[in-house]
């Protein structure tokens, strides 16, 4: 079976008055790895359940390869789901768990046995076939859940925070494993996580959700370098956000003025169109914020804290203008670097190519 494309049109889900999913539209290409990212309660599981047929939408349409499946029951959809807590059947052995979808499809016994063994091989756990799920570790249960899902080659695989319960090391390992399986099977995968790093490393595209709606949909680079809202800038990686006003727009970028300042500076746009006089937020990533000793730049502040987290050193700086938020700068840790002192005055700067203008007024 080959993978399929998925198209969602105006899909909506309400619980009473509460809108769990505002009208949402989304296209997923054949073989794509799409991640639904967002804070807890943002509607990721809701969207996934609607696609899987585990919940019924109030409005909208779901198309798989252009066929309308909005009203098909889950068992007719040929969409596989890897559940958050794995949902392995506790009264069946690993083997029986994996063979279950084949039995439901009336696959002949011998064939089913062979494919079960293959699936166990794929997740590299052929030796646990006869065990019960409770006799497996969390990581192993995770793999079995995956094997049970890929064994019948569903057209689309949905995964709801599949690695949420695993510790960091195991999670990293499983991420690679899932990527490998995706490459080998070339299945369409829709993957849910609230971990932005996981989303960045695994996805072809990320769909960032907030409060039951899509905030931004694009490649990891799009979201990281050209966030369309303050929320996106904040959610994906650390960022410094400064209030500013647009002076003038030209082909290369924008002339802007930081709040309470007079001297203009340059910034690049995020793809949206700006008009002169519009208030914006200026995003500067910590690694692009330069800190210098000389306290005579356009922007000055006092060093509040220094934190070394392995490879990176972070400086926390309180700008001398009281109404500006605390800023953070990051650079690779070097043992030879001159030590900073807490309380020291510093000046701050950045390359205009690293300063991204974002429309203000949306998000938080």
């Amino acid at each position: 079976m080959t993978s399929s494309s998925l198209r969602v049109k105006g899909l909506t889900k309400r619980y009473g008055d509460f809108v769990a999913l505002a009208p949402t539209s989304l296209d997923v290409a054949k073989g794509e790895f799409l991640t639904l990212l967002g804070p807890s309660g943002s509607g990721k599981t809701t969207l996934l359940s609607l696609i899987a047929g585990l919940a019924h939408p109030d409005e909208g349409q779901i198309l798989v390869d252009d066929a309308d499946v909005t009203h098909s029951p889950a068992y007719d959809r040929d969409i596989g789901v890897v559940f958050q807590n794995y949902a392995l059947f506790p009264h069946m052995t690993v083997e029986d768990n994996i063979a279950f979808p084949l039995k439901m499809r009336k696959v002949a016994d011998a064939d089913a046995r062979r494919r079960t063994a293959e699936a166990l091989e794929t997740v590299r756990l052929p030796h646990v076939a006869k065990r019960y799920p409770r006799e497996l570790s969390g990581g192993q249960q995770q793999r079995i859940a995956l094997a049970r899902c890929i064994v019948y080659r569903p057209a689309i695989i949905l995964m709801d925070e599949p690695l949420g319960a695993l510790d960091k090391k195991l999670r990293d390992q499983m991420q690679l494993e899932i990527k490998r399986i995706h490459r080998e099977l070339r299945t369409t995968i829709i993957y849910v996580t609230h971990d932005q790093e996981e989303a960045m490393t695994m996805s072809d595209r990320i769909c960032l959700m907030n409060a039951g709606a899509i905030e931004q949909l694009g490649t990891p680079e799009d979201l990281y370098f050209r966030p369309q809202s303050v929320f996106v800038a904040d959610f994906l990686g650390e960022s410094n956000l400064l209030s500013a006003t647009v002076r003038q727009v030209d082909a290369q970028g924008l002339d802007i003025v930081l709040a309470d300042q007079t001297a203009p500076s340059r910034a690049v746009g995020n793809g949206a169109s700006f008009t002169a006089g519009e208030p914006i937020k200026l995003m500067v990533r910590p690694q692009n914020l330069h800190v210098a000793d000389a306290a005579n730049g356009q922007l000055t502040g006092r060093l509040v804290d220094v934190m070394i987290s392995g490879s990176m050193t972070r400086l926390y700086i309180a700008p001398e203008k009281a109404d500006m938020p605390q800023l953070v700068a990051a650079y690779p840790t070097r043992s030879s670097a001159a030590p900073y002192e807490i309380g020291q005055r510093v000046s701050l700067g950045w390359n205009s190519a690293d300063a991204v203008a974002i429309r203000d007024g949306r998000g938080h």
Binding site: A55, H71, A74, Y75, G80, N85, A87, F89, M104, Y152
Partner: protein, 602 residues
């Protein structure tokens, strides 16, 4: 620290300290568990043992005469067979009809769950006597059902619906269905809702998902409900006595006759042995098949079925379940206009209709009695006029008011005593590493397993010999024996959920043990303790079997007074008493449920 500073400790000295510590621990254990063990030894083991001994010893020494009498004719064996038949059919009906009810309760949202559960609990807590009496009224010649059938023209003259197998079965099922539902519910609530959904995504149609996934996981609950209902049914006498004819006599009624009318203790003992053997066989079979540990429902869904049921049985079971799945799905497909737009999370209309019908059937009799208790037309349907006469009669009758006060007193005493000795025992079983925990627990729970009638008769014999018959104190002791297992079970569950780190936190903040208990432990455990107190109180308040004998003719409790009256004549006065009892119990569960929810919200 002290050890480090001490010069050098002789090995012998060390051993002595260890021995001292062990001894002081043993004393603590004895102080906490001793009272309960003593209570059970003196008022359960000894009385039951006495009764069994009476069946093989008489004044002239060893004898088997009672047993010869037992098997001399087929009379008693027939009664045993009838008892088994009634119990089995009751169990079957309770489990089969209770399953959908428990299922629906376990899947619906919070609000609807509370509503459904309220009706089940209300029925559960309504006195067996009240419910049985209500069916007498309902099924009587001038009862609702006859009147309904007449008005519909289905029959031309009132049918006799009472005193036959059907009426006994209806009464038994009404009595025990709530127990079956609650037992199954405790297992179903622990089944992961995602499993059937996962099955659906894997291609299982609803019928298949139910039979292959949900049903096997709920099986331990079904088994536990089955054995609980069966064992309770086999020791029942209220329903067959009130709703059955001569041909529905059950074995416990024989025991009552022997004790109250012929005073033949030896023969009563022999019948008790027979009953006990049957119950033990049932438990042994259950243990063989499923393991007794599944009865509590605790470890059930994960470890139960696969290990004990050997290969072939499992394979047959699997095939049967697959077949059931296929058949169910065929039927579902054949049904006209399957709701295509239906939310997969919503329970079907058929299921809801069935559940509400069952709930109406078990609640309606009691509710229909309320208007009759205010009527002037006796117990004939429909109620006529309005009068408070029957209530005035009850209130002005010293027999009823004294019975009520006595029941209240005994209930409070039982609740207090059961808490006092049950709580420390629960602490011991949850928190200490006392050896042989499983055996102790089995011993403490044995009053539930041994048929109540056997306990009651044995207790009567012992009470008579030490002059406790007719005393409130004796009754409190007797009721505590049967109420304390519930207290221990509830308190164990409460303690297991209690985070002991809270105590440690309090102590690290400077609270001494007593202050910790007062400010932290009891306030948090309070709701759980109160609800197990209520459980003990309600058990005593509704207890008839022990009271039947131990009150000794005088000093009746409310259920005993009720029983005496209702076996004498069926009158509107009893309808008034029933209504009062019903409302009293309704308020009690309302309060208990409120408390439980407040505790859960914390």
């Amino acid at each position: 620290m002290a050890v480090a500073k001490a010069p050098a400790i002789e090995p012998g000295q060390l051993r002595a300290t260890a021995r001292f510590r062990a001894r002081s621990q043993a004393w603590t254990w004895a102080a906490m568990g001793g009272p309960l063990v003593l209570l059970l030894v003196f008022f359960l083991v000894y009385p039951v043992g006495q009764l069994l001994l009476l069946s093989i010893y008489n004044d002239s020494g060893f004898t088997l005469a009672p047993y010869r009498q037992l098997f001399a004719s087929s009379v008693y064996i027939d009664v045993l067979l009838i008892t088994l038949k009634i119990s089995l059919v009751t169990t079957l009906v309770c489990v089969v009809t209770g399953y959908p009810i428990a299922y629906l309760i376990s899947v619906v949202g919070k609000e609807r769950k509370a509503t459904l559960l309220f009706w089940v609990l209300l029925s559960f807590w309504t006195s067996f006597l009240v419910r049985a009496f209500a069916w007498i009224v309902l099924l009587g010649r001038n009862g609702v059902i006859n009147k309904l059938l007449l008005s519909l023209g289905i029959i031309s003259s009132p049918a006799s619906l009472l005193y036959n197998f059907g009426s006994v079965l209806v009464g038994m099922v009404n009595a025990l269905l709530p127990l079956a539902v609650l037992t199954m519910l405790s297992v179903m609530e622990n089944i992961d809702r995602n499993l059937p959904r996962a099955a659906a995504t894997l291609g299982a149609r609803p019928g298949m998902a139910f039979w292959k996934i949900y049903f096997p996981l709920s099986l331990p609950g079904v088994a536990a409900a089955g054995i609980m209902v069966f064992v309770t049914a086999i020791g029942f006498f209220i329903v067959p006595a009130l709703l059955g004819g001569r041909r529905e006599t059950m074995i416990t009624q024989l025991i009552i006759d022997q004790v109250q009318q012929t005073l033949n203790w030896g023969f009563a003992g022999a019948i008790s042995v027979l009953l006990l053997i049957v119950v033990l066989i049932v438990f042994a079979a259950y243990d063989r098949l499923l393991g007794l540990s599944t009865m509590t429902g605790a470890a059930a869904p994960r470890s139960a079925a696969p290990s004990r049921l050997a290969g072939p049985i499992q394979r047959i079971g699997d095939t049967v379940l697959t077949l059931l799945g296929v058949i169910s799905d065929r039927i579902l497909l054949a049904l006209p206009s399957r709701r295509r737009d239906r939310d997969p999370d919503k329970a079907g209309l058929g299921l809801q209709t069935f559940v509400w019908t069952m709930l109406v059937i078990i609640s309606a009799p009691t509710l229909l009695m309320i208007p009759l208790s205010f009527g002037t037309g006796g117990l004939n349907w429909p109620p006529q006029g309005f009068t408070l006469h029957w209530y005035e009669t009850v209130l002005h009758s010293p027999v009823w008011t004294q019975a009520f006060l006595r029941s209240l007193l005994v209930g409070l005493g039982t609740g207090g005593l059961a808490m006092l000795i049950g709580t420390p025992a629960a602490f011991l079983l949850v928190r200490s590493n006392i050896p042989g925990k499983a055996a102790w627990l089995a011993f403490i729970l044995s009053p539930i397993v041994v048929p109540r009638m056997i306990i009651a008769v044995g207790m009567f014999y012992v009470f008579a010999s030490i002059g406790l018959v007719g005393s409130a104190f004796g009754l409190v002791l007797g009721h505590t024996v049967v109420a304390v297992p519930y207290v221990v079970m509830t308190m164990m569950a409460v303690l297991r959920n209690y985070d002991t780190r809270l105590d440690q936190a309090a102590q690290s903040l400077g609270a001494r043990p007593f202050a910790t208990l007062r400010h932290i432990t009891f306030p948090i455990l309070g709701a759980g303790m109160f609800s197990s107190f209520l459980f003990a109180f309600a058990t005593s308040f509704d207890e008839l079997t022990i009271a039947l004998f131990a009150t000794g003719g005088l000093n009746a409790t409310l259920p005993k007074q009720f029983w005496d009256e209702v076996t004498l004549q069926v009158s509107p006065v009893i309808a008034a008493v029933s209504t009062c009892l019903f409302i009293f119990m309704g308020l009690l569960i309302f309060v208990a449920e409120r408390l439980r929810r407040r505790a859960a919200a914390r």
